[in-house]
Symmetry: D2
Subunit: 219 residues, 4 copies
């Protein structure tokens, strides 16, 4: 198993030396679906990384939970023969508990996440994990799903550690940004438009976090 | 694709002629987990079908939903090299909406059910489907989950039809039995102990329904 | 306690003889809130009953459950000194279980309904009850909330019987209409626009059902 | 409106001078129902405050939410002519969202809480509020209902401030105790037996917090 550092070195070298750019698929939910729109985080990333080194592809579908990713990964991800897959999921696994009664049990969340990672690795894709950023931006820890988002984020952190995978800890980044920039304890409008989906500042923050992982090793 | 009738003929012939008895795995949730207990439906079935023709194996785990079956089918079912697999699931997919917020969306229910069937077929197991029997036995259509149980049962009937698979319609059998034997509109105690799990009459009814499918073609 | 027949006779006599028209307040949720719009059921009723005999007032607010009615009845209903109050509620008590996790327990539903009725009676308003019509129009009993709607409708029927109150059984009327006019098992578009809120046919059916109760005794 | 300090002085004086001891009713859910058992927080309190100054009465019923308190307060509280009522509720308002789909909306929680307080005041009872302590004791903010418990606790703090009522902030006390005494991030066993109900340490902590409010002014 490669170490994250080696992974990043490998990724960087590959990105720098390859005739063919590194193909990165962003695999996720509505947040990623919107990420390819003008001003979206993938759109921004395209302007932030060398075009000859990275090909960035969006594969987000609204409402997706971890097992939706599992069910559609053959067609939507593996068929594109990605070098790198960035998995960003979790908001709906938590949110759908309250809004439809069809959220994902924590233990099943881990099992399907592991199944996704296993299948991506078997296809020789390198895998980058992300934690779910936010359902509500209040900074006094009183957003309804805060406890669950923290729990599922920790499950992803544990998985990344267990499998030595790079992690973009967006939950942590969003909390830190809000603690600094949301003194009024607003529930939206700082990094999101509606408590979940990204505004300009949110897309920029995510793009920067993603760039750091994609480029670090290349320096 | 074989027709159900042919399937049953094949199943019967195989059961009658084989030196080795037909190995049947019952794949499901807590109802099936209890089915192997003395007086349980699998225990009863063992006394109702010729022992030299059928080997009956329980593979039920409490709380299981369709995607739990998917996640554990390699170890718990395919490793046993079954000739026939009886899939009986659905109660928790519906019930966990209200009790944990982690039920299964109808469209995902179908997708995972199809994935389970596909994998069983690929392993040359013949597949028998069942509809979920009951969450509550009131006969005035006022059990909380009646609408959903009817919906998910119909999804299973449609799947059986689409793929030409034999179906044990336990939902229908339970409703008919209750309409006849539950004039007081009791919510439990007719076929169940607790609205869901089987009492003696329930185990007997399920065993008879299962036997009918297993033996018909053998006559 | 007056009998329903006497109640209706009284209501009719009062409507016919009074210099002042009978003031009827329709007390409910978003369906009633929309009822005062052009083409809405209250708007239609105004054209169907003698204007000198009835004054019809809407008091519906979107999202209301039975205890919302209880909390706002002083200002929104009693302050208007109604002769008659038509209470139509229940859809959100059931629906919010799945969509927000904040539906109403059946026993609390009855307790608050009784408290509303008690307070209306104490203010000398005569009370007419209604059952919740529909969340989904499928006729094969597979709308997700069918079981619960049937349960809560029965609780209202039992309350009406127990307290000798007139009842507009809209649940029953909608089911019968759909069984006749919805052979394709559509989930909406027959009496509703969106499974819950009334289209033209729905508003007309409700207006006719309401008129029958308001006018019967007057004939 | 009396100030909390004055309130406590009044309470203390009354407790000290009265021939008749101050009658305190603890009004709540299963936690309070268990509080009168040997070793329960009310049982402990009885040994911690002067018996001639305080008469402590339990009025807790399992599963109660704020509107259950409202519905039963005449019989269970006002009929006892209390001098002081300690209201401790909120766990089920949050918890029942996930476990039954029948939790309490935040805005209704406040409205019913205000209605309870108003009615207690009208009966000349002095009112002490409490925040809900815990559903899970993990200290990394990842208990599923942490966000909601923090939200509802803040609503209670705001209400106490708005109406100048004494507050026992058990949520805060439990968090602080756990941050100090639960380094292993256990979900239960520190102050609770099962994430919600009190063990010996929990009952002792609550008794001490309650005593502080009841006695402060008496010193």
């Amino acid at each position: 198993m490669i170490k994250p550092l080696l992974f990043l070195v490998t990724l960087g070298l590959l990105a720098m030396s390859a005739a063919k750019p590194t193909r990165v698929v962003f695999f996720g939910d509505s947040i990623t679906q919107a990420g390819v729109n003008p001003g979206g985080y993938i759109d921004r990333l395209r302007k932030m990384v060398p075009a000859d080194q990275f090909e960035l592809i969006g594969a987000g579908i609204g409402g997706n939970k971890i097992y939706d990713l599992f069910l559609r990964m053959d067609e939507d991800v593996l068929a594109k023969q990605p070098d790198v897959v960035v998995v960003w999921v979790g908001v709906n696994d938590v949110w759908h508990k309250a809004s439809y009664g069809t959220g994902t049990d924590p233990d099943k969340f881990v099992k399907f996440y592991e199944a996704v990672v296993k299948k991506l690795k078997a296809a020789n894709a390198r895998v980058i994990l992300c934690t779910p950023a936010a359902i509500g931006e209040k900074t006094d820890f009183s957003n309804q799903q805060d406890g669950d988002l923290n729990q599922y984020s920790q499950l992803i952190r544990d998985l990344a550690k267990r499998q030595n995978l790079p992690l973009v800890d967006l939950r942590k980044a969003f909390l830190e940004y809000n603690l600094k920039n949301n003194p009024e304890n607003k529930e939206k409008g700082v990094l999101t438009t509606d408590r979940v989906h990204l505004n300009d500042a949110g897309n920029q923050l995510v793009a920067e976090q993603m760039k750091a992982i994609l480029m670090t090793a290349g320096k």
